[in-house]
Structures are given as structure tokens and as C-alpha cells.
Symmetry: C2
Subunit: 327 residues, 2 copies
């Protein structure tokens, strides 16, 4: 390829002219004006066996759930309402009996939970590995969607829920794999963390609330870990940030597991990813009506720093998380 | 899997309730009302190495072109206007230098030709095989989209362009493969047919014209060959048809090649697929202002035939094409 993921996306973006009024590549969703004061949101994500999941470990129900969830989460990151989904799935010939039914059951359960119908798609054969693509359509009032580009100096940096649970769950899954034991009797703590990894819950209601709250300036969903995702907001907004690592919201289960294993919870919370919580910035004093944690503050970019990329100041740690990237 | 492709799609469709006013699974596109007299069309298609194309044969430029073309064609099949596309691509690590650039160049050339911007997508790694998914958004006036379900007894059955060229092109490609010679000096005739297979031209303008013509009752694009595709129209409309195989439009190149090789052009035209022409029905006397060929007539379904599936009467041949299916 010769190009990294973000470099490749940037290059592709440069090749296409986008009509005025449309937000194309570069945020959680594309945004297109409908007539009559509405905007259409569109997002699409591909999940490939061996890259995004391991067929030999994940159960088909969870895979169906997760395939929908990670895409619904992009609509949550823009503060949108769900309209419907489109599912493409390439099924290898040797797939076991009942796989598709269980996959669709998981996909349907989360779709029903969020009242978001499957409206179309494509089913096909694959040569060897399962490949899934989901496209989601959403909508929101014109100009109401939450973008990555709105953060302003002085904004508080906030997150919903707890961070690092999904990363810990993945670590447990990989550990079991290398131990060679498929599905041991996991203690409750571990089961909860693995569930957080396999069955994430998109923050649709929370995103809608944030989009309706004056003073919320930027938002995105956390898919790569905030060490990487916060950087997207900073780059899009031309600002920098200070984050207090001691204030990261950590679940009791994560603390418990990390204490027993000697793992660093802050590292999992910052660089692990796949939490599918919301990361947002707002003016101090904004009446945010959903549970959230303030983890830092947006700062003006230092003079002449445009080319170096945004530097995040990590407080409360002697580690440097600046370098963490998903790829 | 335990289910055939169409059976699986039917089963999935049954699992999901679609809100009133939305056309979900079962046509070329899903159709959703926008406010203010417009409808949104959405279609999605996945292309997998080893199933839909052969990496060792197709050049990356053509693959980019075709990935967009087969999806744009679904919008043409509904008579829609193009809004934009979303491209997901999973790239294996061993992909050769310059592949992505050439792929995007082909994708961009057809996108520019139809003034249809790329608005978003997903780039990811693949374990071994390339996988591509394209989603296209289109629009049309409320109630104006051409569905499969509108055919009525007495309608003429018509097609645009010529049929079978793409199937002949594929046959040539596979022949070269088994000969072990990658890219021989093909005579002009063969080059044209292979081009028709690798760089199909969606009939966007033609679809728009048909949607604006009173008396055009049903339409779809030809992806699986009319032996299979016409059956979709008949099933959706509850009718049957008589097709005169002698009237199928065949290109000079196809006739020439088939004469030299002893191939049956009617078989390629009916069962080959991937022509991406339009198959439509209209009342006799409808002023159809695009080049087309009348190949048959819609008939009322015989009494009590609902469960047996529509029977097409093939005239001018002693073969039975009823059994042809893509899978």
C-alpha cells in the first residue's frame, strides 16, 4: 500500500470534489441536506474475520450484535436519530449450520432495541473468510449534528460511561486463545468485561440529548481509544487539550481485574478502543443532562504548531500516550 | 448455510418489520420518503475476490470502475438520480504497490462521469482476500421510482442495449486463465467483449427517462441475466411472460465470436448476466424515448399458479431456459 490508514483516507478524500452543503469524508458520518430542515446522516463500516474479530472465538449472536452496534454508534457520535441499516455479508462455504440464523438474531435484537429496521443489503458467498459491511442511515435537524470540528479553547473534555472495559475484555479473549482453552468458566468480572467487548451498547439516546443541548461543541464516538480519537477532534478543531489521566472513568470490574493482573487501567482506557462511549466537549456550565465525566480541557493551539499535529498534555501519569495509534 | 441465496434473503426479510411507507428488502433499492415530495433510494453490494472477480486477472482500474458501476446500476434500475457513494475496502497486506491508487482512479473516473461524489467509507486491512462494499444513495420524486412489482398483463417486455456481451467477455477471461496465458494480444472483438465485462456502463440517463415516461410500469437492472431477472419482475408483479428468443438484441461482436467458436449467443444473453442494461415493461404505444428492443409480452398468471412460481414461455428456441439460475 505504501500509505498508512489515515494517510490513505486523506489521499482518497483529495481525489473527490464534494458538492457544497455536503459534509463528506472525515467525520463519524457524512451529512447531506434533505429539504425541509432535515439532514441525512450516513456511515459505513466493514468487519473482516482475522482483523476485527476472530471467528474461532466470537459467537455468531455477538458478532451480529457488534456488527450493528459499531455502526449505530457512529450515528450516536453525531447526535443523530436512527432511520435504518443495510447489511452486506459474504459467507464462506464451510460456515457451520445455524451460523447465519444466530448472527441475524443478534443483529435483530440490537436493531429492535433501538427501533432501527434492516432495510436492505447483499448476501453472497466468500472464498474463505467472513466479511461484513453495515451502512446506517440516520437523520437530524439541519445544522444540529455534532461534528468533530466544533471544539473551542476553554471547553471541557467529557466522556460517557467507563473506558477500557472493552480493551480488557479483548485482552482476556486473546489470553484464552493462547492458553488454548476455548471458553473456560470465567468469573463474573471477566464475563462482564468480555461482554463489553462483544456486545457494546451505542449511546444513541445520549447523543440525541447532547445534540439538543446548547453549549455542546464537538462530539464523536470512541472506537480507537481516546488517545487516538481525541486527536481527531483536536485536528478538526485546530486546538489542543490537557487531559488528567487520574480522572478517567474506570469500572469496578476493570479496577478489580487490573489489580489482580498488574495491568495498567489507564493504558487500557486511553489506547484500547472499542468502548463506543461518546467523547464530547462543551462550554463550562453547560447543563449536560446525561451521566458523564469531565476528563480535561481544550486549550488554544500554541503558535506555529499547525504542522506538528496537536499535542495532548497528559496529567497524572509519567507515561506518554501521545504515540498510541490503532494501526 | 442450509439455505439458497434467495431463500436466505426471504428469511432475513421476514425477521424485520419495516415501517409503513418504506420499501425494504426485495427491489434494486430500498425507498424511503424524504419530506417535501422526494424519496431517498439506497442500494449496497459486496464484491469478493474469488467470487465476483479474480484478482489475478482483473486490472485494478477496471475493478474500481466495476465496483462503482454495478451499484450505480441499481439506482438506474429504479429510475433514480445519483446523490453519492460510500466505499468500504479491505486490503490484504500483500497487495501490490500502486493497486489502491489505480483502483481509486477507476472508481473516480466513473463517479466523475456520472457526477456522483464519494462521500464516505471505510478502509481496513484484510487477512488474505480483497473485499469491497459500495453503498449508493439516490433520489427521485415521491412515487416516481420504478419498481419490480408494476408489470401488468399486456405490457411489452423491453431491454436497453445488447445482451450477452459481458458473459462472452467472462468466458474469454476464464479461457485465457485455463490456457495459462495472462493477457494475450486479443483481437478487437474479444477486447470489446472483455471490456463490456470489466467496465459496464450503468444506464442512469435511460432510467431517469423511463421513470419520467407514463406507461412504463416495471423496471430493474440486468445483473443475473434476464432468464433469472425477468423472473423477479414476474414474481413481484404476480404475472407471467412470453419471450421471443429470436428478438434478443445481440451485438455484432457477440454474433461474430459465437459464430467462430460455435457458442450459443441466446444462452449467453439469457443466462450470463452482468450486462447492467435495463429490463422494463410498458403499455403498448408508450412513447419510450430511449433506444430499446421489445423481446416479449407480459401475460396474466394462469389460475392457481401462485405457488409454482412464474413460468416464462420461451419462443424461437428448443431449449428450456426456465431452470437457469445464477447460484
Amino acid at each position: 500500500m505504501g500509505k498508512g490508514e489515515f494517510e490513505l483516507i486523506g489521499w482518497i478524500k483529495e481525489q473527490f470534489e464534494v458538492p457544497e452543503g455536503i459534509l463528506g469524508i472525515g467525520d463519524d458520518c457524512a451529512v447531506m441536506p434533505q429539504r425541509d430542515g432535515l439532514e441525512t446522516l450516513v456511515t459505513t463500516d466493514m468487519l473482516v474475520d482475522g482483523i476485527h474479530f476472530l471467528m474461532e472465538d466470537i459467537d455468531p449472536y455477538s458478532l451480529g450484535w457488534k456488527s450493528a452496534a459499531v455502526n449505530l454508534s457512529d450515528i450516536a457520535g453525531m447526535g443523530g436519530k436512527l432511520v435504518g441499516t443495510f447489511l452486506s455479508i459474504a459467507l464462506p462455504k464451510n460456515i457451520h449450520d445455524g451460523f447465519t440464523e444466530e448472527f441475524i438474531r443478534g443483529y435483530k435484537d440490537i436493531s429492535d432495541r433501538f427501533n432501527c429496521p434492516l432495510l436492505g443489503g447483499d448476501t453472497t458467498a466468500a472464498k474463505d473468510r467472513l466479511c461484513i459491511n453495515v451502512t446506517v442511515l440516520g437523520s437530524c435537524g439541519a445544522g444540529q449534528s455534532l461534528k468533530r470540528s466544533g471544539a473551542r479553547p476553554g471547553d471541557l473534555v467529557c466522556v460517557t460511561g467507563t473506558l477500557g472495559d472493552s480493551a480488557a475484555g479483548l485482552k482476556l479473549v486473546l489470553e484464552r486463545q493462547s492458553d488454548g482453552c476455548g471458553s473456560p468458566e470465567a468469573p463474573d468480572t471477566e464475563r462482564i468485561l468480555v461482554d463489553r467487548h462483544y456486545r457494546p451498547m451505542p449511546r444513541i439516546a445520549e447523543g440525541l440529548r447532547l445534540a439538543a443541548t446548547t453549549g455542546v461543541n464537538a462530539c464523536m464516538d470512541i472506537s480507537d481509544g481516546i488517545g487516538s480519537d481525541l486527536r481527531h477532534i483536536l485536528e478538526a478543531s485546530g486546538v489542543t487539550a490537557r487531559v488528567d489521566v487520574r480522572s478517567l472513568p474506570l469500572s469496578a470490574e476493570l479496577r478489580d481485574l487490573c489489580a489482580r493482573r498488574g495491568w495498567d487501567p489507564a493504558e487500557l482506557a486511553l489506547s484500547g478502543g472499542e468502548d463506543y462511549e461518546l467523547l464530547f466537549t462543551c462550554r463550562p456550565g453547560t447543563p449536560v443532562s446525561i451521566p458523564h465525566t469531565v476528563i480535561g480541557e481544550i486549550l488554544a493551539a500554541p503558535e506555529g504548531s499547525e504542522t506538528a499535529g496537536p499535542v495532548i498534555i497528559w496529567e497524572g501519569t509519567d507515561k506518554d500516550f501521545t504515540g498510541f495509534r490503532h494501526f
